[in-house]
């Protein structure tokens, strides 16, 4: 199995995300040839005007959705970590939905089986990341996320010094 730090997933920078739902439209268009947020694998949350973020599958190291499925319908890809859904086995019971802390796996409104972000593997790159007008979405590993956080924190710590430079 691939090492966790090589796994990439789609994440939204909450400082940049404006809640515009372009990712939802693009995802449903890419996957279903229609504009319909209910068929999007990435979903926007707006708690209030100031709190906006898009959420897609985090490709967890030990995916609780996989563990929760009583019918072994979910399998993480060894190469990429993407959760693959066996639509013949899935009966839409929703235990994986309960297990996911992010609300990133959902039941498809028509097919009645679960669906989840696959990083647009057919296209080579997630289309939501490509289209995000705010550049708020990124395809990253957890290591890169940590690196970014460290750099941001350091910049804040040394903001006075950085001004002089």
């Amino acid at each position: 199995m691939v090492k966790v730090h090589e796994r990439k997933f789609v994440t939204a920078d909450p400082d940049k995300c404006v809640g515009c739902q372009v990712c939802e439209y693009i995802c449903s268009f890419e996957k279903e040839k229609a504009f319909n947020p209910l068929k999007s694998r990435i979903r926007v949350v707006r708690l209030n005007p100031l709190v906006n973020v898009s959420i897609a599958c985090r490709l967890c190291e030990d995916p609780p959705c996989v563990a929760a499925c009583p019918r072994d319908a979910l399998t993480p890809s060894e190469k990429t970590g993407i959760i693959m859904v066996d639509e013949d086995k899935c009966n839409g019971c929703g235990w994986c939905i309960e297990a996911c802390d992010y609300g990133a796996i959902m039941i498809h409104p028509e097919r009645k089986v679960v669906f989840v972000c696959d990083l647009c593997k057919d296209k080579g790159e997630p289309q939501c990341v490509k289209w995000c007008p705010e550049e708020a979405l990124d395809l990253v590993t957890s290591d890169v996320l940590a690196q970014k956080a460290r750099i941001a924190a350091t910049k804040k710590l040394f903001q006075e010094a950085l001004k002089i430079i």
Binding site: V18, I26, W131
Partner: protein, 622 residues
């Protein structure tokens, strides 16, 4: 059909019965959608001379053909159309956010509300299932509280809600309809019409797919517009936002101040867009499908109004700031927050307070008349108290809630002359005395005083014409831009994105064609724009409006600007207004009374509405 849902939902609130009819394809092609389709449907479903608050006055909710797609700024719009309780003519107001896109996915191009519910209700549109539910427990709640409560009780946090606040319930004539908590269909009192029907809210869940006629080409066009929206045409909206206008207008001496006593504000720096962004803007967010984002969310971080949170734009900032002589942004943000709470149009609210302050300063209203409020210009506490009173129709607020026109008539003693409105709708933040192209645009605007029906101020403010002169040629300029604006409001795209349509009609026609599959040329889409303006004119003529109503506020025509500077001495005389009107009517192919000729209507394919003109002529002859 592509783009269109192909269905119109009829809801009779009196009987509780609902039914669905197919969308008339001829109407769709001729009137596009949004306000065009809405006004056409209204004419079919309302009797001439209907009272705005009568159950017989339908309230129409319409989306556009673009709504529901990923088109940047266009996927999310909706419009309310009815007879306005302010102008007694066309009432229409658009809003964006996420409500319109949801309604389209529920499968409707328009919803027609008729009648009046016996008790307060809200409508729950869940795709094909439409229910009227009890709203007695929601009465008195703000639109935001209503949205939260409905989501909670229906058990779905992604339901979209458009609701009125306490003001709409009490038929405050400037009441608006708010969706997605911060977005308002603000002008012309559509919230009061909704309140008169005992309709507290409209909740929608839509699950259907939206598809377009030519998906590949459409997505290429979307991509191109995503790039355009990162460019200079939208820079203002993405950076300082429309409050940038404060210092621009002030420098040109064209910012009405203290109810048109001045045309510039000495404390403009304190309420500028620059100060707002530096001190109060916490985040800029976007509507559904938008690629530019403009919504400047402001939070007051400290002081007596700590925690007040609202979206802010130039117009409400101007109305509650300079127009009332108020130089405190924290109070202006609080004022806007209160307007959203009660559900009233913040532009009109500010203008009404400015009017009340002017009455007070001139001794027409006393402190006693004002329930003990010291309504000096500049008193921010008076602003907030008066907004609350209007929202509740409490004390003096009961009179002010009628809008400046009716309030001025009720108060009398010369208050009428201090009431700055056109067709009963309060003015907006452009001093028309020194912006003469704008003055014409405002005078002929079919929904009363408004900058958003024409944008004609741009010619004046950007120096493309001599703004201090009224001359021939302005009529054609106003007509042409009005025609583009009605297309925008009928497709329902956002006016902030208008600059990205570099080729105007050509781009709009291409967009319409790609989405709907109805092959349309730039000339045809322009003709639709013109047709919709004629339609609005016929609406107003049928309801009794005419040339006499295409006029300007009293002060604009009688009080020359006194401030030193480039606009000193400017005002609009009756002769100038007449010249401008004649020129405009001629450009429109209307007669001297401002009535469309039968030839013009036939040219536009409006034979079915010729009877309105014929009846008008017959009446005039009798």
């Amino acid at each position: 059909m592509y783009g269109y849902a192909g269905r119109v939902l009829h809801i009779d609130l009196t009987t509780g019965k609902t039914h669905v009819e197919p969308l008339n394809e001829d109407y769709a092609k001729k009137y596009i959608g949004g306000i065009g389709l809405g006004m056409r449907l209204w004419l079919d479903h309302a009797k001439a001379g209907v009272e705005p608050f009568s159950p017989e006055n339908p309230l129409i909710l319409a989306t556009g053909p673009i709504s529901g797609t990923v088109w940047p700024t266009g996927g999310n719009g909706h419009a309310f159309i009815s007879k306005s309780p302010q102008s007694y003519g066309v009432g229409e107001s658009k809003s964006h956010g996420s409500f319109g896109t949801e309604l389209k996915r529920a499968g409707y191009d328009a919803v027609i509300f008729k009648g009046k519910a016996e008790k307060p209700v809200y409508v729950w549109i869940d795709d094909d299932s439409v229910q009227l539910l009890d709203a007695s427990h929601l009465m008195g709640k703000s639109p935001t509280e209503t949205e939260d409560a409905i989501r909670e009780e229906l058990g779905d946090y992604y339901i979209r809600v458009a609701a009125i606040g306490p003001a709409g319930e009490k038929l405050v004539r400037i009441a608006c309809i708010i969706n997605d908590k911060t977005r308002a269909a603000g002008r012309t009192g559509m919230g009061a019409v909704m309140g008169s029907k005992n309709l507290k809210a409209i909740a929608v869940r839509g699950t259907h797919d939206i598809t377009v006629a030519k998906p590949e080409e459409f997505m290429e066009f979307v991509k191109e517009f995503h790039e355009r929206m990162k460019g200079p045409a939208t820079q203002k909206y993405r950076t300082l936002g429309t409050p940038e206008n404060v210092l621009v207008h002030n420098s040109l001496s064209c910012m009405p101040t203290r109810n048109y006593t001045n045309s510039r504000f000495e404390a403009a720096e304190k309420v500028s867009g620059e100060t707002l962004n530096e001190r109060f803007v916490a985040k800029i967010i976007g509507c559904s499908s938008c690629a530019m984002r403009c919504e400047h969310v402001c939070v007051v971080p400290e002081g007596p109004y700590k925690g007040a949170t609202t979206r802010m734009e130039y117009e409400p900032l101007w109305a509650m700031g300079p127009y009332c002589g108020i130089d405190r942004l924290d109070a202006i943000i609080k004022g806007m927050d209160l307007c959203n709470y009660y559900g009233i149009d913040a532009i009109s609210a500010g203008v009404i307070v400015g009017f009340a302050m002017d009455c007070y300063e001139n001794g027409i209203l006393t402190e006693k008349d004002l329930d003990g409020i010291d309504a000096r210009f500049g008193n921010h506490e008076a602003l907030l108290k008066l907004i609350e009173k209007m929202g509740k129709r409490d004390g003096i607020g009961d009179i002010l809630a009628e809008g400046v026109k009716i309030a001025g008539e009720k108060i009398g003693k010369g208050a009428e002359k201090l009431a700055q409105h056109i067709k009963g709708v309060e003015v907006t933040g452009y001093d028309l005395r020194c912006l003469k192209t704008a003055a014409l645009g405002f005078a002929v605007s079919f929904r009363g005083a408004d900058h958003n029906r024409h944008g004609a101020y741009a010619f004046d403010v950007k120096g493309k014409v001599n703004r201090l002169v009224a001359e021939k040629g302005r009529g054609k300029m106003v007509k042409d831009i009005e025609d583009i604006y009605t297309i925008i409001d009928s497709m329902i795209i956002c006016k902030f994105s208008r600059g990205t349509y570099y080729k105007e009609a050509e781009d709009l026609a291409k967009l319409y064609t790609l989405v709907t599959g109805f092959e349309t040329t730039p000339e045809e889409i322009r003709r639709s724009g013109e047709r919709i303006n004629n339609l609005a004119r016929l609406f107003n003529i049928r309801e009794g409006l005419g040339r006499k109503d295409d006029t300007l506020p009293y002060k604009v025509m009688h009080h020359p600007i006194t401030d030193e500077g480039p606009s000193k001495g400017a005002y609009v005389s009756q002769a100038e207004l007449d010249l401008l009107l004649d020129d405009y009517y001629m450009a429109r192919g209307w007669n001297r009374d401002g009535v469309p000729t039968i030839e013009k209507l036939k040219e536009l394919g409006m034979e079915d509405l010729v009877h309105i003109v014929e009846e008008k002529t017959k009446k005039a002859e009798e």
